[in-house]
Symmetry: C2
Subunit: 192 residues, 2 copies
Amino acid sequence: MSQSTGGTRERIKAVALELFTEQGYEATSLREVAERLGVTKAALYYHFKSKDEIVTSVVEDRLVRMDALIAWAETQPPTLATRHAVIERYAETMFSGGQPSVMRFFEQNQTALKSLSAGREIRERMFRLANVLCAGDDSPGGQLRAALALFAVHSSWFAVRTPGITDAERKQVALEVANELLTAIAPPPPTP
Amino acid sequence: MSQSTGGTRERIKAVALELFTEQGYEATSLREVAERLGVTKAALYYHFKSKDEIVTSVVEDRLVRMDALIAWAETQPPTLATRHAVIERYAETMFSGGQPSVMRFFEQNQTALKSLSAGREIRERMFRLANVLCAGDDSPGGQLRAALALFAVHSSWFAVRTPGITDAERKQVALEVANELLTAIAPPPPTP
DNA sequence: GTCTATAACACGATAGAC
DNA sequence: GTCTATCGTGTTATAGAC
């Protein structure tokens, strides 16, 4: 409760994320963000020292969650059960809290994020996750299936156009397809 | 060789596509494009009347090819064999000529393309292709698998990191995974 | 700690000379 | 077909008042 910035910082992050996702990072001006908040542009520069820094801040907690998942996954044996557990946990974080919007922002701004440090950081985590998912079979087929399993979770948001579908149903179908892909990856390595 | 525009138009398209893909549409200025070509900004405006129009022009032949494929696919019966044939032809066009770069540009600029007519046109074709691919089973699972089959072809370009892999090998593994997904879509409808 | 005012500059696009 | 010069606008970012 002794927060110094009175929650304005969080409001900026929320609005910026929304606009960046809707219209793109480059296409969104700080004037737009400020206007929607009912403050001036300069006020934003009090809380964040640059436009990049807003993105970095937004992405921060997402990175922490991904790091935790990767760290856990890397301690697990490279079995099929592990893969299923990893994608399950991944989907859980993707479908809970404010996380989906962050990843939607990430998908929609791949190019813009290339020149942003936050983008490179998330990208790196995605590749590491994909690597964990095909541990034991890093053949081209394994790599592709692992990447697609992750993408199944993401794309269930826009690729499934069934009217009236709920988030829970999206998650369920995403996991079904993802697990199908993971199962096809490889025979788990022999346990000696 | 009595071409009226002396090939400059094509050179502009090539350089613009390259920069738009690398850095993003919004992040690439016409000054940059002109500089790399060794001409001035104003020269570009002789060949294209706006920045959008460069994109439209780049995407044009890709649209024609996609339309041809969709038209053909829609005349075919909704069987598993058709699905495999469609994705096979799709991969063929994606891995030939200058097409891969166009689709890479498309992937990398989803958000920017939302407000560009060319973007909406390609997007519409992608959905129609996905629909054809899950004809006979438009359940959430079917839709997701169809979309991922298309994405398998695209993502084989960056998701597969095996050193020294050739384009032909990328195509092959993409088709293998895509066909796996398509096979899982649904029992082909009973032929009465 | 928050805002107004404004600097300094890049953008897309146009006009008109050559 | 390409150039120079420039318009109008929107951008990030800063200095300084409150």
